[in-house]
Symmetry: C2
Subunit: 627 residues, 2 copies
């Protein structure tokens, strides 16, 4: 088969390929950072490239490209990298707007105080050396001493420990430190005295993975590290990853290997930061939504994608690190928290054991706003949970200038109600490149408050300002003019963007309302925002657009990365694992999509802030009722 | 580094090598079957080759070669392949006598009746499919049904089972067969109904490995397969393998991989013979001496080689097949029987649970004559065991024309006391190439009965026959003349050979006597010969030369491969594993080498049949007392 050459400008990276592949495939393979939110499905329109040479050597223009590229772009030889297949040699340039940027990861941890009761414990022993009168085997000698001096009985020994046992005992001249997991299994024998004992808590998010290194002898946070989930190039959300697995025979293997490589990047970085070796890491506790959970354990997520959405299993999983190729102590354990139902996974269980709503007198609404939204409603009496298909709008997809929380993302906005002048702040203070998730909420609220958009979400066509204009794709509002931006174009919010926000917030609000109806609550007493996005969201703006039901603003709080916090708690205290198991079974999962009230609630919640529900706590901020 | 060419004649196999290596290394690497009993240690003298070209391109003649090669051989350019290092190109021929031959494996199994109570059991289940009202996870659905229909509770699931679970349940349309190990762990879930359930019992001998395929639903022997232990090229006996591990940084890894490859050859052959797949093999029960046990589990045997000889562990080991790369069901279990002490290993435990001496009223002496000799003495009251360094003489090493039990080996001999004419039979009826272990016992007994050798083991120089002659190395007795043999030389038994036999049988006899003294028995009531060698040995001849204490001949019996039989029993019946654990702890191990009586007993046992002990049951066969 013929070989096709491709050169990416301005980086100059190049490669030769044979067979059918797209420009996006070639970019991935060569490590060219090309934005792609939909994972190459042809719907996000983010992977625009300009064909400099050889446009005749590409597959014909597709309908998706005709829809997603403007006439001007088409005339300038723009293509979507995920659609254009190589048929010969080409040179393409990656415009600034299509360069994938590393997300700024901001996932603070609450570090809730917890009793230190980890799964692992070290025991120091001194053994009598073998003699001709007592030539007992090394293991039996060790077990006898452990029983005599520490009262440990019926210990199992993980097989790899046996391989190094004789040497360790002799290297330490019959003095050794034995690490026991869950009081039942020897996972390490070290010569002499050893104190080092670390564990890792990891939150495997759809978009971001964060790991925390905990010193299991003190409970202190020793280091943390985060990175983009390496699965992102294969699909931005869980559904596109499930699709990837179903469409590719090696899809599960690839996505599994990607998340494992992410975990290994984390453990390696953590060990390096703390100046310890990988074999000083004894356990990893993991949380993630059901899809991440399945991909992590190499379980096919296929059936999660279609009704009735059963997972392979709910119960917590303990599996040896070596079984999954996770680089910590090979005899170390991976503990994956249990999952509830549907997509309400181990991450939500993590949130629950961090927030502990079952201890609350007041009715709490807990919203974990990630790429996949999860909501919990409850108090000491009952706890309900649901998953809501918010879609990736809050993460910047489906939004024309949406982007991840990376440098240059507009995150704060103020629109003057009189002049309609715009003030904005970007992450890192860079020239704007787009709008991040928390920014889009605020922009929408500001546009609503300033009357740029109406109660229905439609643009107010009666306002006269050059910022509101009509294009071939409909109305849009200019936030930043071309000369202020880093992308060589005006950054605007379009009517379509507002519709996407309406759909996302309506899904969340309607989900909350369905849970409230089931619970028998006509209002919520606390709103708790979890997740990175929840931390940076402007709670007033969120309530102005009606993301969640009315509640005193001082009762709206952020708990940061509560899923990661839950993993930390389960790592430090075995009882929290029992609690996780208990709550995963106790939570009543509601499949809101099939609730008879859902559709009505959804439609009503499309309005800003709502068709009929009142918002006394932000009433004063809302525009006067339109006539 | 320069490359050296080597060509082996008559096969014509050739290769190029750089770096320091011996002709034997080159032969191993090219797969040239070159005999080597000592594993290249330079003492067996079996790897003779004739240098046809390039003798100047080899390292200088060593002292070992000067000692082990005759003047004639030296003049004909003979070298020991393990001593001669390549320094340039050479052509060597491998004489017929140095060609390694596959041993004829003859290890019959007693097939003692036993109640069928294997570790594995299959359960058929039919599950209600998931619905929106009951979207429980696949595993929880399965566990619930297993509890409801079969009363199985608290089942663990081996991780790899999870990976295939969802597919298996759907492929079988929610009907499945679940295999449970030890009533506690799910190791397989198959769609629909499945009955196939097999296990393998393997005896890992120093020289020979034998595997038996058992149908765990009927207990029937379905197939068996044996092969040379692939470790043999690295050393014929346990001490030379331990030396190999200590001398080579990758020695343990290599020997371990060799025995695993042997196990895999066995499982593959068994599966093929029975027409089943490897994943239908659910468990392997293994026995072997302590060194084989350690190499199999990749535990360094280093400390077994020096006093006080402690093993890494005694207790039985259960380890997943995938952990050791054994190709059966990856979730299948490897059960290694416990070991006693020193070199009295899991093989002897196998012998014990097959013979069950603790049920005997009579005092039994159980001798397992392998490359490593193990003896047990006991009855219902007490059981003692010991290991005796018989050395490899009974396996044909240290014997000038000794060879393995392979085609052409002399196994039966009769010497006419008057004429000193010799009648012999060989394995396979081929022209003689040497003498195998059971043959050497009979030859020795015949030579003693015919007066060729005296009570002291010395040759009777007064006999006049061309068969007795003196060479530069001392006296020898010709069994087969050059024109009758396949090796182009007379096959003879030398004075040195007789001395080696005396040492070996004296070690065994003295060991038995030490145990008898400890036990308080002045005679034994039964002698039980175990092992392949024990099966083919002529018990009368063995008693004539004094291999074991006198006993009525009808009380001397062979139990075949009792170690393998023990593995079979432990595979078919879980209680036998408990029995094995119990007996391994109960047996009192005696370190005979340090017993104060051992030296005296050893010296006395050097005589044929013994210096002072009488042998009333073979008295009539013994030559008249020499004056």
């Amino acid at each position: 088969m013929a070989k096709f050459k491709i050169v990416f400008q301005p980086s100059g990276r190049r490669g030769e390929f044979d067979g059918e592949l797209t420009i996006l495939d070639a970019a991935k393979s060569l490590g060219v950072p090309l934005e792609s939110l939909c994972g190459g499905e042809g719907w996000c329109g983010r992977c625009k490239v300009i064909v400099e040479k050889g446009s005749e050597n590409l597959s014909p223009l597709t309908t998706e490209e005709k829809k997603l590229l403007s006439d001007e772009e088409l005339s300038l030889n723009y293509r979507l990298a995920c659609r254009a297949e190589l048929r010969g040699d080409v040179v393409v340039s990656v415009p600034e707007v299509s360069v994938a940027r590393v997300q700024v990861v901001r996932k603070p941890l609450l570090e809730i105080p917890v009793e230190l009761k980890p799964a692992l414990k070290k025991y120091y022993v001194e053994l009598p050396p073998p003699t001709l009168q007592d030539p007992t085997g090394d293991l039996e000698r060790l077990l006898k001493t452990l029983e005599e001096t520490h009262g440990l009985k019926n210990l199992k020994v993980d097989y790899p420990v046996l391989k190094g046992l004789s040497k360790a005992l002799r290297d330490g001249e019959w003095k050794a430190t034995v690490t026991v997991w869950c009081g039942s299994e020897i996972v390490k024998v070290e010569p002499g005295r050893s104190e080092r004992l670390y564990g890792v808590a990891i939150d495997v998010g759809t978009t971001t993975m964060v790991g925390y290194l905990l010193d299991l002898t003190t409970g202190k946070l020793a280091a943390y590290h985060s990175l983009m989930n390496p699965q992102v190039p294969f699909g931005e959300d869980v559904m596109s990853r499930i699709t990837y697995v179903m469409d590719n025979s090696d899809g599960l293997e690839r996505l599994h290997q990607k998340v494992i490589s992410g975990i290994n990047s984390i453990t390696e970085s953590l060990a390096k930061q703390a100046g310890v070796s990988l074999s000083d890491l004894y356990e990893v506790v993991l949380v993630g939504n059901t899809c991440m959970h399945h991909l992590l354990l190499k379980l096919s997520p296929e059936h999660l994608g279609c009704s009735p959405f059963p997972p392979t299993l709910h119960q917590p999983v303990d599996v040896k690190a070596r079984e999954l190729g996770v680089r910590i102590l090979p005899s170390g354990n991976l503990h994956v928290l249990p999952i509830e139902a549907g997509f309400v996974g181990a991450d939500n269980v993590g949130v629950l054991i961090a927030v502990e709503p079952w201890k609350s007198e007041e009715v709490q609404l807990i919203i974990d706003i990630g790429t996949n939204g999860e909501i919990v409603l409850g108090n000491k009496d009952r706890i309900l949970s649901a998953s809501c298909a918010t879609g990736p709008a809050f993460e910047g997809a489906h939004i024309k200038y949406g982007m991840r929380a990376a440098p240059g993302a507009i995150e704060k906005v103020k629109i003057d109600a009189e002049s309609l002048d715009v003030e904005y702040e970007t992450i890192g203070g860079e020239k704007p490149r787009g709008i991040c998730g928390s920014g889009i909420i605020q922009v929408t609220a500001e546009m609503f408050k300033a009357g740029v958009i109406l109660h229905t979400g439609s643009f107010n066509k009666q306002l006269e300002t050059p910022r509101i204009r009509k294009t071939s794709e409909g109305y849009e509002f200019v936030l930043a003019w071309k000369d202020e931006t880093a992308v060589g174009a005006d950054i605007a919010v379009t009517q379509k963007d507002i519709r996407a926000i309406q759909l996302a917030k309506a899904a969340m609000y309607a989900g909350a309302k369905v849970l409230m109806k089931r619970f028998g609550a006509d209002h919520v007493e606390q709103v708790i925002l979890a997740g990175a996005f929840g931390t940076y969201i402007d709670k007033e703006a969120a309530m102005v657009i009606g993301m969640f039901p009315d509640c005193p603003l001082e009762k709206v709080s952020s708990v940061g990365n509560a899923a990661g916090e839950g993993a930390r708690l389960a790592l430090l205290n075995l009882s929290k694992r029992e609690e996780a198991k208990w709550i995963a079974e106790k939570v009543h999962y509601v499949e809101i999509a099939v609730d008879p009230h859902f559709q009505d609630e959804f439609v009503a919640a499309m309005m800003f802030p709502h068709q009929k529900d009142s918002f006394p706590h932000v009433e004063h901020l809302l525009p006067k009722e339109e006539s």
